[in-house]
Amino acid sequence: MDLKRIEAKITIAKFLELAYSKDKGMTVKIMAKKGGARLTIDQNGKATLSGTAGIVTFSGSPVLDKIGAKIKRVSVSFNNKGGMNVGYNATFDLEYMKLTVMGDFDLEKLITSCSGLLCRAARALKGRHHAYDMELQKIMGY
């Protein structure tokens, strides 16, 4: 099978990580604001995170390229329920089917996960660190 439940969830976290590395301040403003926000990634990797607080555009290609199947589009709606708890509903538009995954995560945990030693180690390896993926897996609610 192409894209499993957990792989889809980790992918969402990694897109947010890319947005965060492009513009920390705006990414946090968008995600921490109570209410809705939206993330879209097209087949060329052009990614946009938007909300009432503003907009961040970045390249999602580093994450998109790691997915085995060709992705036509990813669309994620976030709903900050107040505080740091963020619900999400993500739809992956593949060649022959669509796949939706949902859940919620703690925004603070997601941000701090990528400022710690583990994240730095993962970056130093210029690839993905299994332990880091496992941490994202836990944060994204699986």
């Binding site: 099978m1 192409d2 439940r5 889809a8 199947a69 060709k70 669309s75 709606s77 509903n89 739809t91 593949l94 060649e95 022959y96 089917m97 669509k98 796949l99 939706t100 995954v101 949902m102 859940g103 609610g141």
Partner: protein, 146 residues
């Protein structure tokens, strides 16, 4: 005697009108055929029996993503229940079930009628968090897009 006969016929008429006609689950039967008879070795050969031309496109035979996605059935290891709605030309089938990790998921499939055969025209796999989120009615794939 005549009154009894008229009463009997009236009751018979009313009961026959009140009995609702339940159509056989034609879409689930079609899905079951697909589920039982397709595998990694034959899916591309039999794809046009189960999927519409608009879903398959032109290059599915050579597309590396086609085999696994047309075998989307493999996401669901056990079926819990199913619902369908059908009109003259199209219909939607919703199947609730569980994946290999016993986590709940939903298949939402749109079917179209083509030359007397029901074909899958849209596939939406929805990974839900709890079986409480199982669908309780037939829903078309569009209704799962936010």
């Amino acid at each position: 005697m005549k009154n009894i006969l008229i009463s009997f016929l009236t009751i018979l008429f009313i009961t026959s009108c009140a009995t609702t006609y339940r159509a056989p689950p034609v879409l689930f039967q079609t899905y079951s055929q697909y589920n039982e008879s397709t595998n990694v070795n034959n899916i591309k050969e039999v794809a046009n029996i189960y999927f519409s031309q608009s879903l398959l496109g032109k290059n599915y035979v050579t597309n590396p993503d086609a085999t696994s996605q047309l075998l989307f059935k493999n996401y669901m290891i056990a079926i819990a229940n199913h619902y369908e709605q059908v009109n003259s030309q199209n219909g939607c089938l919703t199947i609730n079930g569980y994946d290999e990790e016993k986590a709940p998921l939903i298949f939402s499939l749109k079917y179209i009628l083509n030359n007397g055969r029901w074909l899958i025209d849209k596939i939406h796999v929805v990974f839900i968090e709890s079986k409480n989120d199982f669908s309780t009615e037939a829903k078309c794939p569009e209704s799962y897009i936010h």
